[in-house]
Symmetry: C2
Subunit: 245 residues, 2 copies
DNA sequence: AAAAATAAACGTAAAAATGACGTTTGTAGT
DNA sequence: ACTACAAACGTCATTTTTACGTTTATTTTT
C-alpha cells in the first residue's frame, strides 16, 4: 500500500443560533442549486454548511473566524473545533463531485469542523449576499456532502458539553432571565426541568449575577434579568474538582 | 490573498499509559536522532509522538488505529480524536525541516491528533523495533515539532473529560481495586481525595461491579477486585441528565 | 376601579449526597 | 500469638436534590 500524502483541507462551520422566541436551536445553512445549462435538469438542490479552504497564512481557527465573519459579520463568538472529517469516501455522491471545482484533487477533502454558538438576534440575514437560512436542528432539510453527519456530531458534542460547562449562556443575549436559561436546556436536551428547583439552583450560583434591571415590553409580570460572569466562574471552578461520573 | 488548496495531512497519536505501580500517567515517545555524515554534528536529538500520513483508502480513525498497532501491537484500546493542529508555522524549526522528507510540501502539515488510553502493563516495549519509551506526562523530555503542545492539550482534554465521563477505567486493568481508581484520579488531576468518601461513592455506583475475586500476591490485606460495566453505565446515564455547571 | 389571568418568584419538608472525621477488620510477616 | 498496615466499615453534621405547595407582581379584562 502506498501512502497518499497530498490531501485537500478545509474548514466547515456549524453555526448554532438559539431563537429565544421560538425556543428552538437552529443551524445556519446555505442554499445550493445547480441546473444543467443544456437540459435544464436539476443537478444539485439542497443546503450545506458554510466553509472554505484554509489560506496559506492562516491558522485553522483563523479560517473558522473568517468564515463566520463573511457569513454573519460577527466576530468574537464562542467557537469550538470539535472534529476532523476525512473519510476517503466523503465525496462519492455525484452531485457533490459536480459541484466542486477540481474533482480530481477534491475526491478526498479533509475538513476541520467547528461549531459556533450565538443568539439568532445577533445575526441579520437580510444584509447578507448568501442565501442563508436558519433551520431547527431537529428538522433539517436535505443536506449536501456529509454535512448532516457533521451537524449531528456537533449537536451531540454540544449536548454533552452543556451539561458540564457553562456554554449555554453563549446562546443567549448578555442579559437573560432564569426561565430563558431553562428553556435553552430543555430545548437542547429535549427534557423537562422543574422550574422552582432549577431557578433556585441557578440563582445560588455566584457567577449568575442579578442585574438592576427587569424585562420590558412583556405582557405579564416582568422577570428579573441576570448575567453570567466568566471571571467568577473560573475562580469557583479552580477550587472544585468535582468528579461526577 | 490566494488560497492554498494543497496541504499535507497526518495523524499523531498521544499514547497515554498509566503505570499502576508507580502511580504515574505516562506518554509513549519515540527517539529521534540524526547526525551529519560529513561533520558528525548532531542535527536532531529528541523525542516525538508516533504518527503517520493517512493512507489513500483509510479513514482518520483507521490511521490512528494502525499507528497504535504498529507501535504496541494493540487494537481495541480507547481512542479519542481530540484536535487538529494546522498552524502555518508548525514546522518552522530547522531540525524538523531537516528531518522530514519533502520539505517543500511539508512546510505545512496539518495533523489530526488522537490520544489513546491504556495500562502500561498491556504494552511490551521489548519486542518493538522502534526505540519507544514511557515518560511521565509531568516530566517530558525535549520534544520535536510542536509535540509538547499536542501532549499538553491532550492531557488537558483528558483532565476535563475524566471528571464527567468514566474514561478513567480505560487506564486500568479490567479488574481493579477501589484504591487504584483513586490513585489514577489523584495522579491525573494532582489532587488529594479522602479515601473513605471516595470508596463509598464509587462502591455505590451500580456500574462498579464487585467480583468474586481478591488481589493475590500482596503483602497486606488483599483488596476486593471490581470491574466497570459500560452497559450499566449507559443505562444509568440515559435517565440522569445532570446539569452540573 | 376591582377582578381575573398568568408568569415570576418564594417556601417547605423529606431524601440523597457530600465532607470530615473515627473505628474495625483481615492478611502477611514476625 | 502478636504486630504492622492497608482495606474496609461507620458516624454525624452539612449541603444538595427532589417533589411539591403558595404567594407576588404585573397586565388585561370586566
Amino acid at each position: 500500500m502506498e501512502s497518499e500524502k497530498i490531501l485537500n483541507i478545509s474548514v466547515d462551520c456549524v453555526v448554532f443560533g438559539y431563537d429565544t422566541n421560538t425556543k428552538s436551536l437552529n443551524v445556519l445553512l446555505i442554499k445550493r442549486y445547480l441546473a444543467s445549462k443544456t437540459t435544464n435538469e436539476v443537478l444539485v438542490d439542497d443546503f450545506v454548511l458554510t466553509g472554505y479552504h484554509v489560506y496559506k497564512t492562516e491558522t485553522l481557527d483563523d479560517t473558522a473566524t473568517r468564515v463566520l465573519k463573511e457569513l454573519t459579520g460577527l466576530t468574537g463568538q464562542y467557537k469550538k473545533q470539535f472534529k476532523a472529517f476525512g473519510d476517503p469516501d466523503r465525496l462519492l455522491h455525484p452531485k457533490d463531485i459536480i459541484w466542486i471545482e477540481n474533482a480530481e484533487f477534491n475526491l478526498r477533502t479533509t475538513t476541520i469542523a467547528y461549531y459556533f454558538l450565538l443568539n439568532t438576534e445577533d445575526v441579520d440575514l437580510e444584509t447578507n449576499k448568501n442565501d442563508a437560512r436558519w433551520f431547527p436542528v431537529n428538522n433539517l432539510p436535505e443536506l449536501g456532502f456529509d454535512h448532516e453527519q457533521i451537524i449531528l456530531e456537533a449537536y451531540e458534542d454540544l449536548k454533552v458539553k452543556c451539561l458540564s460547562e457553562p456554554i449555554i449562556f453563549e446562546l443567549l443575549p448578555d442579559k437573560f432571565t432564569i426561565n430563558e436559561v431553562q428553556d435553552v436546556y430543555q430545548s437542547i436536551l429535549g427534557i423537562e426541568i422543574d422550574n422552582r428547583n432549577f431557578r433556585r439552583k441557578l440563582i445560588n450560583k455566584k457567577y449568575i449575577i442579578a442585574l438592576d434591571e427587569k424585562q420590558v415590553g412583556v405582557s405579564k409580570k416582568p422577570a428579573q434579568l441576570y448575567m453570567f460572569s466568566r471571571e467568577v466562574y473560573d475562580k469557583v471552578f479552580q477550587k472544585n474538582y468535582l468528579i461526577s461520573i
